[in-house]
Symmetry: D3
Subunit: 340 residues, 6 copies
């Protein structure tokens, strides 16, 4: 196997799922999902450290790392059908080479039938992540649901076209994603400026500011987003920047912006999306361990992945039938639960 | 006096209340509540440190440690009628001996007419805490309201029947508590597995998952719990695992699980329970100072105790009459406030 | 210029706005707002460190410190018309001299036509802050909206009339502010005692306890406060103690009290107040960097100031016309947005 | 008893020694040493927090707080004959009143026959500490041995004569201590400037810079200091600023200066001084818990006190006879050890 | 393979060496050294957390975890011939069962020809570690060199014979090790008391207090220790408690005692011992990650193991010939270096 | 002025020295030294964060930031003749462009007669730093004295020729510096491997391992280094990687290696070098604030620069005459001190 393994620290997989080699499709022929680490933080404009994101998202859990995680309420095993390809060899000092490596790997995994779940890394990686997925599904054919405090639609920063503030612009400019199928939730703060906001409006983007989410309610906003996402697209890419959560819930990140979602809100949203929509790829980015405390951000990153995987698993289980309902009492109606 | 005193660090009482000796009932003949420290964390499956819980729950407050805490809104002194028996001599390496010591002390205090409030320690201590109370009130006669991210109904862990993941199972198996009078709030995450959930359902337990609480509203869930708790039981034991709160609000704990209650929700719930129900015992567990930041978890643990004591005091004050209402403006209707 | 500059660390202004000298009105003739640092924490009853508040509130932001901050949703530049006078020379060991220095500076700035925004320091500074503003507007002519976990209406503490627990009492006693135009939001915990609460009621103060805010809803409570604030007063002073937020959102403070507002709630409230009311002065206090983690409290302090400045700017822009509405989609109706 | 008790947090004594009341000499008639807390940090020029010094110096130890500490090598009980008077009521905002309180207490304790050991607080307190002792022994009759990174001989700082940068100047100016009997060890860095150094030289002070200590060896420097200290003085006051140690050994302090002593060097020096010289008073200052990590500075402060007390105890034991020798093997010659 | 794997967190080996199963000697037939994790901290008297010691000692290094570590100066690969058996299943709440598990594993590995290197865990584990080795070599046939701030020769603590303060007493009492072949370096502080010191002297122990090490020089003390260690014994067990280092160098430990060795001194000592003496077993204990900062203690623990392994490797290489000399310039005399 | 200003955070200069623009020589015509920030950490192989090095090295000091720092013992003003050009615009994601920017700036400043003192950034920057200086002085004409735990002579890492592990190799390969005039102090640990060590030996490098420094004494090693450095070279470049110090003294760095120099040793060495040798350029690298505690590493970085500047200033003052001697008592012989 030519698997690169871990870029930093010891070699282990996401909570103990089987390892695979992304270059050898036979190693993940039976997998629904392939996890890929993209430990790149050379595109960060402020506090770096997201390079250690894959390491801690994979390894932060107080339960046995045994490759199995039955969801308490959904009664499905989040890790069934999941394999981990380890990290890609990226290098903070060389952003274009690193992005190419990521794009190629994501495209290859997608083409071989697995849903890629990429562990960042800073948000730069969403450019190659989505591009890689779009190479398979076709330009404009997948919508993006993007949780973030920031729009990440900047043009040139620090003299470069590439970085964690620009991936969404590059994706729309290249045609990989249609601007009017780009959905953002959780924006707030003081960036970007009016010219960029105008560009975003011109693309037809839909961006929900936190004050609008407070005003309308999160579920209502998600409902609207879902309608747009499925209009003319065959799949959805989910990109979660951990800084969409309030810094109190996710201090371990590079550009924290006060006033965000709670962890509960993010977990519930991710769960809904992966149950209700045809997710064809996902990334979780900007978990930066050097700024974390007591591993709470790392743990949240891990749980975002697990909720997503649980949602996907439940969607597969419920295919065509009634969906799991979060109002269902935990210990009732066990007959309808897949694992009981 | 044979009082053991503190297991770790200097000897002081909860916010300066008078000391007593649990083995000498005369020292707490006039007390409504006796605080007991159970600095045991040998049953922790992951991050230890809850042994320092009693020390910090007793001592973390910016106000004078003068044995008096008038509640701002309820207008009662939380600490009137409260004494502190210090710590019990427990030892992390010997779990069964430690549990026996706790059970005996709690049973003795209860038998002598005081409500025991036990400061843990890890959740292992709820097994002897509730058993001790039940020795006085009779098996199956007290219900349990249990705030936690975890069900703690495991069977054998690390080769042992005893630990912080199993107390609720031991309590139901021994008959100390009826399974259908066991109420859990705040569960989430990926533990325990389906077999244990089935066992729980078979016992008739009622366990509210966080997503159900979000869906139904916390007050509605509490209303349902209160109905069950009072059905055929003469008292309620309140067990608060601090990890029921989101790690952003309570990072200082051993097995943090993202997506929990806010501190406000927990405080309001504890206050309601102790005002509206006949609480006969309480514990607060899993406050682990080594993982805390700026003492915020320690402070929350302290406030959970104070809100509970305030609720009990107000309940005594209002006995038979109208209850305090949180909608009451703080500075109005002073005529009806006990302390003004 | 006789500008004192910074009391601690390097000399820089709030996010790069132009410097001015408070003693030289010509240097801020064109300013709407003058920022003044009051790095005094000698009045703190518990954890000190708020002396470093001005330094971190000015300097904590991941964006370029270029003196410009267009608000994402309100479409105004928060920093247009803002200058920074640096710190005042205060000294923790000499509280009365320090307060006199602050009062004189604030009064002078106000008399010269600018709105003072004071960066504390501990809450002691609100006594000279509001007194200084009231010297210009007249006694009893400005109301105070006060966000805090604590009433700060103590009489004598540690043998002194002056300190961070007493400013509101001094202000009402001196006649600078009418008691019945003093509005408090977010109170909770166990201080002050019944006698002080009675004194507060006697003054006609309106103090919203957190449980009342939960019960009634934050917007409803603000609506009630706004009605009182504008009754017979010509201006409003906004005083924000960062500890009004839950310690999970603002650990970096001296006397954290669990169960507070979320950061989102505070930011939305400040924004509403500065848009809807004629704010004539503001302070932000009790940000204590030594107890912060990953700069999340510092960042929140910075954003409280920016939301306030944005609200003021939008109020100036909308003068007489329709106000910005937080339900407005971020990328729609650009024609009505001032900066696009 | 009118004992004030603790200023911050719970009430307990230094490692469990008996409490006394400094205003009631009968309560310490049998004591050799009386410990007094001076939790004042209003004189700090930079990072505050030393107000919590007394609390952590008294309480940081992993051994039982039982009022007994036999020294491993010296074979004396450091705590025999030691009582703790609790804290004095000082207030950060009022430096002169606070200093007067301290001076009066120290003078009174000294006049009543006990050696005062003062737990700071910032270095401001050495001014009243030494003045208080000198009121009994007579002006110019006690020498001072002062461990510090800084000379603390400033004149006016922040517009005040009083603060933690000026106590040594005030002591020499007042005549309490002769400049040529003032001995300083560990100075380094960039303060004070040449004019103050000239003033120091004019007073005949002897100040050992760290580079001189490295060059000559610590024991040789101590030998020279001892000769001066005993020339015409009847007693020695030992003042230890914890920042004399390298920040790696003592990060929890207000003005850390790299390149200092190791903890071992400080402990050995304190031990030698208290064994070989007639110490009549001592203080330990500038332990600032908010900046500490894992309590290592607090623990060092505790051990500085214990080494001093052990040295004094051994000096009393060896009175007139041969002194303990650190080259003595730990488990040999037990016949000559007092406690075996 | 029945290998238990990791007790906490992901499964990986010490810096990537091959895994083995201690119960299956064939898996380490070719190994010189077998690493065994003993993640037990139920015997800690104060700050727990050493259960995470094996995890961080194995995994903390910024270099690739590739199973190879050529020593810069000694020119041998520290990891040649090293395998890692993972953790043993121990449980903090059950100390006797856990110790028996450890003793059996260590004895079995020793009997099968490998040198066991045990990663603790608290110091309790040295009792089964040395007992296990002595079961093979014979009672009294191995000497112990013990680096520690504490003698660990207590009798009963917290009502138990077993714990991290008593292993050395149990080993001498059982006859596993002769008291006069027990060598301790680095003792300091205030424990144990005179009676225990007398017991130690009666056993003929040699315990070097830090002040004696300062006085005599570390190399001289080591020379004396080596002479005793080889007198009538066929092997040496090296037990390193990380708290022998000063808390400034090793804050991440349970019972830090100021005034210890530097990291450099410990590394040099370990290197000398493993080169110059026939080491037949080793443990490294009391690394407690919850109290560490920036992984410096974890890294030191890792380097203690590597220096020991390098010393052993160089000893094998130099067998019978001239030894490596630390005065040798790094880049000279390459002809005599084994790896060049 | 086209000065770029700060890359991160507010704009201020090193302790308040005057600002200059490196592209405009007139702005530093009178300067001896020009400080240049190189906030680049894209070449880090492990923990990033050194991008914030310039910010904290410039701004971490408890004294007034007034552009003046008289050295206590040397009696010269370290900051006389020093200006600060701010940061260069570098970008972590683009290493070659960033290095070119640095090289050009350093070369230009050198050509214009000032000594460049570069604040890193990771050690990558030493490649352009020294290359830039060598462009002026000529290839092979300046020697390098390099303090570091690591040799930084790797060839290709993460697929790149450029990074913080390779600058010294690039400098020797390009001919900028002769291998036999490259002097390294403080090496330790397990990198690089034998092949790279052989390459280093082939170049004639002199690399002092920590064990050799312990064995020979630091001053003796420096004496040997000085002899080589001045043999045929006209100037010396001093490169200080803060990780040459032990992690206990400098935890805030990317690749900490236990067993290093003390802070005192580093400060004394830097002082000697800058007094005794013709230093023509200097950099200080690898200060990584995210991993620092209580700013102790930042402060050490600041002091390394100040000791260097003080040494240079004293060298200019003593030109041709007797040198300052660290054995000189601090308050004696003031006649010979330049500033008294």
């Amino acid at each position: 196997m030519t698997r690169y393994g871990p870029m930093f620290g010891p070699d282990y997989t996401f909570l103990g799922v089987p390892a695979c080699d992304w270059q050898d499709p036979a190693t993940y022929a039976d997998a629904e999902v392939v996890i890929v680490g993209a430990p790149f933080d050379g595109g960060t404009s402020h506090r770096p450290g997201a390079r250690f994101g894959p390491q801690v998202i994979r390894g932060t859990d107080y339960l046995p790392h045994d490759g199995s995680r039955p969801h308490l309420a959904m009664r499905v095993d989040a890790l069934a059908g999941v394999k981990d390809a380890g990290d890609l060899e990226v290098y903070s000092g060389e952003i274009q080479r690193s992005c190419q490596t990521i794009e190629d790997a994501v495209a290859f995994v997608t083409a071989n039938g697995a849903i890629p779940v990429i562990l960042g890394g800073d948000h730069t990686v969403t450019w190659p992540d989505v591009t890689g997925v779009a190479r398979h599904h076709g330009p404009g054919k997948i919508s993006v649901i993007h949780f973030d405090a920031h729009a990440d639609t900047g043009d040139i920063e620090f003299g470069s076209l590439y970085g964690h503030g620009q991936p969404m612009r590059r994706l729309i400019e290249s045609g990989a994603v249609r601007g009017d199928r780009f959905l953002q939730l959780g924006l707030r703060g003081y960036w970007p400026g009016p010219d960029v906001l105008d560009w975003m409006a011109d693309q037809g983007m839909t961006s929900f500011h936190m004050s609008e989410i407070v005003d309308q309610g999160l579920d209502a906003v998600l409902d609207r987003a879902f309608q747009i996402a499925l209009d003319g697209c065959t799949g959805v890419f989910l990109s979660v920047d951990i800084d969409v959560c309030d810094p109190g819930h996710a201090p371990g990140t590079g550009t924290p912006e006060p006033g965000g979602l709670t962890a509960r809100q993010l977990l519930d949203s991710v769960s809904r999306i992966c149950q209700e929509l045809p997710v064809v790829g996902m990334d979780i980015v900007e978990v930066s361990p050097p700024f974390d405390h007591a591993e709470i951000t790392a743990m949240l990153g891990n749980r975002v992945v697990l909720e997503a995987l649980s949602g996907m698993a439940r969607r597969r289980h419920d295919a065509g039938g009634p969906r799991w309902n979060r109002a269902t009492p935990l210990l009732k109606d066990r007959g309808t639960n897949p694992t009981s």
